[in-house]
């Protein structure tokens, strides 16, 4: 729980149990529980097994959450990740169909993702004046463009030998394999962010880039590393997504960037940098996924689900202002 809480929703003292419960992360846990009750009450099929069974597609997205959290904490943004997923999954399929053994396919997928991330990072440090949103907008079009050109007029490729992918899509008991990898990644990144110099540097850079630079932090090196990490995680997403698709096409991964950013923001990470922690983002991701699953099982209009998620996002970011307003009113009295 180290790291600043993303969202100041109460004036409780900074230490002790009370502050933890009253923090945004504490609220998220309550919301998560509320969503479970809500799910069970609206859908007869909302149970442990079904939720876990529907989860793998979302879990693949959640891998990118950790990298995106680092980027946002730095005060940057990356909207090219959906395209990186598309490109790496496409290339993995071609590698597999060309007869590469499965471990090589996985490496291709991760490698392409890492490479794309490094391209983003390189551009971000060489063109510092440009907002990263514009740089990654450019690479977003370019990465997907490369995938389109590789896929030619068919626009779609299917993995011929799915034995390896089936292994990745396997379950241990009711738990999908990817869940363990997600938890593992979460632990690694949590340590990285909270217990290493590198992680603390990210917060410092996000809070004040210039001050961090004068304090001797290699700002550009950190940014490059974060973009590369996110690229690599997009590759991980690509391979796990393949495990539930068995193929890729030109629309694979479209819109993922916004979904991942939404999860981070709902979890309390500020896009202005320097604020928020992984715990919040991690719980928030599962809140959003569970809401989607529950409403999906109730056959709610899919577009209405997006409206609901949009509204939740706005309400959550408005909370600090609302609670400040309430507090100010109370003090006046």
């Amino acid at each position: 729980m180290a790291g600043k809480s993303g969202r100041a929703i109460s004036a409780a003292p900074k230490d002790g149990l009370r502050s933890r419960i009253l923090s945004w992360e504490g609220a998220l846990v309550l919301i998560f529980l509320a969503v479970q009750i809500f799910g069970v009450s609206i859908s007869p099929n909302y149970n442990f097994t079904n939720v876990l069974r529907e989860m793998p597609k979302y879990l693949a997205e959640i891998f990118m959450l950790f990298g995106m959290a680092c980027i946002l904490i730095l005060g940057d943004i990356d909207i090219s990740v959906g395209s990186i997923v598309c490109l790496s999954a496409t290339m993995a399929c071609f590698a597999g169909n060309a007869g590469a053994p499965f471990p090589v396919v996985v490496l291709v997928c991760l490698g392409i993702g890492l490479l794309c991330g490094m391209v983003n990072g390189f551009l971000a440090i060489k063109l510092q004046e440009l907002p990263t949103m514009i740089i990654t907008l450019g690479t977003q079009i370019i990465f997907r463009g490369i995938a389109e050109v590789t896929l030619k007029s068919g626009g779609s490729v299917s993995m011929e030998d799915v034995a390896g992918l089936m292994q990745m899509g396997k379950k241990l008991g009711p738990f999908p394999l990817s869940l363990f990898f997600v938890v593992l990644t979460a632990v690694i990144f949590s340590v990285l962010l909270n217990r290493t110099v590198f992680g603390r540097e990210l917060y410092a850079v996000g809070a004040n880039k210039t001050a961090a630079y004068y304090a001797g932090i290699e700002v550009q090196k950190d940014r490059f590393i974060c973009y590369s990490l996110l690229g690599g995680l997009a590759g991980v997403c690509g391979i796990f997504l393949l495990a539930s698709l068995y193929g890729a096409n030109t629309t694979t991964g479209s819109g993922f960037e916004m979904e991942v950013i939404a999860m981070c923001v709902f979890g309390g990470i500020a896009t202005t940098g320097g604020k928020g922690n992984l715990t919040g983002a991690f719980i928030a991701a599962f809140v959003i996924v569970c809401i989607r699953i529950a409403l999906g099982q109730r056959n709610i209009n899919t577009q209405l689900i997006l409206v609901i998620i949009g509204a939740m996002l706005i309400i959550s970011v408005l909370l600090p202002t609302i609670s400040n307003g309430l507090r100010a009113k109370k003090q006046k009295r």
């Binding site: 609220a27 597609k57 068919g154 992918l165 068995y246 193929g247 629309t251 609901i308 309400i315």
Partner: protein, 378 residues
Amino acid sequence: MKKKLISVLVSAGMIAALLAGCGSSTPESSPASSGAAAAAEPAESADTAATDGAAETSGSGAAGHTYAIVTKAAGNPYMERMSSGFQGVIEAAGGTCIVQNPEAATADAQISVIQSLISQGVDSIAVAANDANALTAALTEAKDAGIQVLTLDSDVNAAARRTFCNQAGIQEVGQALIDAVYDLTGGKGQYAILSATSQATNQNAWIDAMKTIAENDDKYSGLELVEVAYGDDEPQKSTDQTQALLQNYPELKVICAPTTVGISAAAKVLQDQKSSVKLTGLGLPSEMAEYIGSDGAHSCPYMFLWNPIDLGKLAAYTSIALVDGTITGKAGDSFEAGDMENSPYTVTDMSDGTGTEIILGPPFRFDPDNIAEWAEVY
């Protein structure tokens, strides 16, 4: 101090209220209640129980079963007509129908929807696939869960489904389109194709069929295909692409657009510019009524489509037959399809030999004589 809890309560409360608000809104269709799920979970919400009651009294073979249809995307009238045809048949037969429109026209979005339907324990899923390959894993999982999987409108890999309700044979569509091009060019000259996206399964199959037919028959030797352009089913891009075709190929005589968005965008460009280039292809009558006419003021003399409502109905009868075991999706199987024109329908082998399909009928021609009538229907 107590009031400091307010903030937490506000957050939880607001979201709970939000969710409750949407929970009470009526979903597009009745919730799931397959035989198995209903038995395992007797305590269902009141409206479901009502549906079940009604279904039991009707006593038909479909009663107590749940049939789902997954369209390509929300917000598309063609898909809406198709699913309404499906829903009508299922509900008349006493079954429960679930209509699911994915949030976007991607395979990713369809996966979520299919997974949700598996959770609901439906008896059959009919899906109009956004991608031939990328749904394989999800549909195989559905099959393994004992769900009858079929496709309609656009197919997936044959191994992942029982059978495919084909709106019209690929060869027939290709033949109709190339004949229309032949007719409109007068047998000789340049023509171009304006397609949807580069990975659109149907469009690619039809275009390939057109090319093959044109190559193998001397009758079409005077025709020259100059370009296949992709409008991505966006009006703006389709407009740009149509204008580019007109400019790059001054000798162009005909544009063939086998996609509903592309054809109406192209029709508008040609008609506004009063171009002599003629248009044909596949389009929705209600979208195209403005542009169909045989005189110079209209850009499209005639075009083709099938009845999407009938396609939905055929898929519904196929779903019912698959669930009650009348057919298994093997070639030669045959089943009654209510009051539909060509009933009974027979399952046949596909031309490439990979799986089976049920063909609705030949594509239907819309011309100035019948367009007004059909524009009211779909």
